[in-house]
C-alpha cells in the first residue's frame, strides 16, 4: 500500500512532463500528411496580406466617419469610398476559407505538451490565443454585420470591430516576429523541398512529391473556395456581376425607386414629421436664419447628379439625384464654402446617425446635393423624403435622410 502511494505521488508530481495518451494526445491523432510549416507559412502570407488590406480599408472607413483634426478626405473620385469599402468586405469574406485552412493546419499545436514551459512560453501562447480570437472575431462579426444579424453580438458592432482590428494587427505583428525564423525557413526553396521529402533525406522521393501535390491541391481548393465566395457576393458592389452573385446581400436593383434601403422611415420614426405639410428646411449660420418650404426648395436652381450610395456592408448602388446644391444653400447665408463646414441634422429624433458633418471639400463640391428627386420622381419616404443629403465619395451612413436643419459654420 505504501509503495503504491509513493508511486502515485511521483506520478502526480511529474505529470507536466508526461503527456496524456488519449484523444488529441494519442500518437498519430492528427494523421494528415498535408500539414507542414510550408503550408502554414504560405497560408500565413495570404492571410497577412488579406488582413493588411482589410485593416487599411477599415481604418480609412473609420476615419471618414470619425475624422480627427488632421484627417482630410476629398470629394472626388466620386466612387472612391465605394471601392475601398467594397474591397474591405470582399477581402474579409474571402478570408473565411483562408483562416479556416490555417487554423486546421496548426491545430495540433494547441495540444503541445507541457502546455506551459515557462513565462516566455506562456506569453507566446497568450499572444497566439489573442491572434486567433481576434481574427475569428473580425471575420465572424464582419459576416454577421453584412447579414444584418445583430442578435449574437452583445455590443455595438462598429466600435468593437474597430478596436479588435487593432488587437488583431498587434497580435499579428508579434506573431510574425516570434515566428520569423520558422517562416523564413519554410518559405525558402531548399527547406521547403526538404520538408516535403520527409521520408527521403537525400532529396525528394515519391512521398515528397505526393505531399507537395497534396499541398498544392489543398491550396487550390482553398483558392477556389475564396473565389466562389467572392463571385457569389461581390455583385452587391459590381453591378454587372449581380446576376451571378446569388449570395449578394443587396442587389443594386432592389428596393423602392430601384435603390436598396437600410433604414426605413417607420424604423426611424419619422413618418408623421416627414409627411407634415408644414415642413420647413431650416438653414442657419453666420448670424442668419433661412426657412425653406418644399416649394421654396423646388424654386431654387435644380441640379442632377449620378451618385452611389455606398454602405459599410460593402454594397453600393447608383442613383440619379436631383436637388439643390448644398453650396447654394450656404451662399444664402453669405458663407464661403471653401472655409466652412455644415452640420446636417435629420428629422429623426434620436439615433447615432441623425446628424453628419459635411467638411469643406464636400461642401464646396457642386455634386453635393440636398436631393428632392430620385430617378426623376419625388424622393420616396424610405429614401429620405422630403429632403436627403447626397454627396460624392461618402459612406452611406453619412448621407443623412429626412433632413430638417442645416447649420453652416467656419471650419474647425
Amino acid at each position: 500500500m505504501v509503495r503504491d502511494a509513493g508511486a502515485r505521488l511521483r506520478q502526480v508530481l511529474t505529470w507536466p512532463s508526461r503527456p496524456p495518451r488519449w484523444g488529441p494526445w494519442r500518437p498519430g491523432a492528427f494523421g494528415s500528411p498535408l500539414r507542414s510549416t510550408r503550408l502554414t507559412s504560405l497560408l500565413g502570407v495570404a492571410l497577412g496580406a488579406a488582413f493588411g488590406v482589410c485593416f487599411v480599408t477599415g481604418v480609412l472607413s473609420h476615419l471618414i466617419q470619425h475624422p480627427p483634426g488632421w484627417f482630410w478626405w476629398p470629394s472626388r473620385p466620386v466612387g472612391l469610398y465605394r471601392f475601398t469599402q467594397g474591397l474591405h468586405v470582399a477581402t474579409g469574406l474571402a478570408t473565411v476559407p483562408l483562416l479556416g485552412a490555417k487554423l486546421w493546419s496548426v491545430y495540433p499545436r494547441l495540444f503541445a505538451w507541457p502546455p506551459v514551459r515557462g513565462l516566455a512560453h506562456a506569453a507566446e501562447r497568450l499572444g497566439v490565443a489573442a491572434l486567433v480570437a481576434a481574427a475569428l472575431f473580425q471575420v465572424v462579426t464582419g459576416v454577421l454585420n453584412v447579414a444584418h444579424w445583430y442578435a449574437p453580438m452583445p455590443f455595438f458592432f462598429t466600435a468593437a470591430h474597430y478596436w479588435v482590428a487593432w488587437l488583431a494587427i498587434g497580435a499579428l505583428l508579434t506573431h510574425i516576429g516570434v515566428q520569423l525564423p520558422a517562416i523564413r525557413g519554410a518559405l525558402s526553396r531548399a527547406t521547403g523541398a526538404a520538408e516535403a521529402g520527409k521520408g527521403a533525406p537525400l532529396g525528394r522521393g515519391d512521398r515528397g512529391e505526393e505531399v507537395d501535390d497534396g499541398r498544392r491541391r489543398l491550396l487550390r481548393a482553398v483558392g477556389v473556395a475564396a473565389g466562389v465566395i467572392t463571385v457569389a457576393t461581390v455583385g452587391q458592389t459590381v453591378r454587372p456581376l449581380a446576376r451571378v452573385s446569388v449570395l449578394a446581400p443587396r442587389r443594386p436593383g432592389d428596393g423602392p425607386q430601384g435603390l436598396p434601403v437600410n433604414r426605413t422611415a417607420d424604423a426611424a420614426g419619422v413618418r408623421a414629421v416627414a409627411l407634415d405639410p408644414a415642413y420647413r428646411l431650416v438653414v442657419s449660420g453666420f448670424g442668419r436664419d433661412v426657412s425653406l418650404s418644399l416649394a421654396d426648395l423646388g424654386a431654387m436652381p435644380q441640379h442632377t447628379a449620378s451618385l452611389p450610395i455606398a454602405c459599410v456592408e460593402g454594397w453600393s448602388a447608383t442613383g440619379t439625384w436631383t436637388g439643390v446644391r448644398l453650396r447654394d444653400l450656404a451662399a444664402l447665408l453669405g458663407a464661403d464654402p471653401h472655409g466652412s463646414e455644415a452640420e446636417v441634422e435629420s428629422l429623426q429624433a434620436a439615433g447615432r446617425y441623425r446628424t453628419s458633418v459635411v467638411a469643406s471639400p464636400h461642401l464646396a463640391d457642386g455634386l453635393t446635393l440636398l436631393a428632392l428627386r430620385l430617378g426623376g420622381e419625388p424622393l420616396a419616404l424610405d429614401h429620405g423624403f422630403p429632403v436627403r443629403l447626397i454627396a460624392p465619395n461618402r459612406p452611406g451612413v453619412l448621407q443623412t435622410k429626412w433632413v430638417g436643419r442645416i447649420t453652416v459654420r467656419r471650419s474647425r
Binding site: 472575431f137 459576416v143 447579414a147 455590443f155 498587434g170 465566395i229
Partner: protein
C-alpha cells in the same frame, strides 16, 4: 527585426486594449465574452467536427475520388459558413443561392476530374 516586430505588436495590442476601455461606445464585457466564445467554439466544436468529417471521407470514399471529394467539401463548407448567416439575417432567398452553389460545385469538379488524365 524580431524584437522590433514583437515590441511594436505588443504596443499596438496595448493601444487596442486601452482604446477599447476608454471608448464609450464599446462594451468591454460583451467584446471579451465574444472573443472567448468564438475561440472556444471554433477550437472545441467546429474544428473537431471538421476533422471528424475528414476522417469520414478517408473511411468512406475510395482513394480515387478522395481528393475530389475533399476539394468539394472544402469549397462547400466555406460557402455554407458565409451563406448561413446571410440566410438567417436576410431571409430565405439566400438559401436558394446557397443550394445552387452546393449543387453546382460537385458537378463542376466531376467534369474537371474526368477531363484531366487519370492519376494513380
Amino acid at each position: 527585426m524580431r524584437r522590433v516586430l514583437v515590441g511594436l505588436g505588443a504596443a499596438v495590442m496595448a493601444y487596442a486594449i486601452v482604446g477599447s476601455l476608454t471608448d464609450g461606445d464599446v462594451d468591454p464585457v460583451g467584446v471579451a465574452i465574444f472573443l472567448v466564445a468564438v475561440l472556444v467554439l471554433h477550437d472545441a466544436v467546429f474544428l473537431p467536427l471538421v476533422l471528424a468529417g475528414g476522417a469520414l471521407i478517408r473511411r468512406v470514399v475510395p482513394v480515387r475520388w478522395r481528393s475530389t471529394v475533399r476539394a468539394v467539401a472544402i469549397v462547400d463548407l466555406a460557402v455554407v459558413v458565409v451563406a448561413l448567416p446571410l440566410m438567417i439575417g436576410l431571409g430565405a432567398p439566400y438559401g436558394l443561392g446557397l443550394l445552387l452553389i452546393l449543387l453546382v460545385t460537385p458537378a463542376v469538379r466531376k467534369w474537371k476530374g474526368t477531363r484531366r488524365a487519370p492519376r494513380g
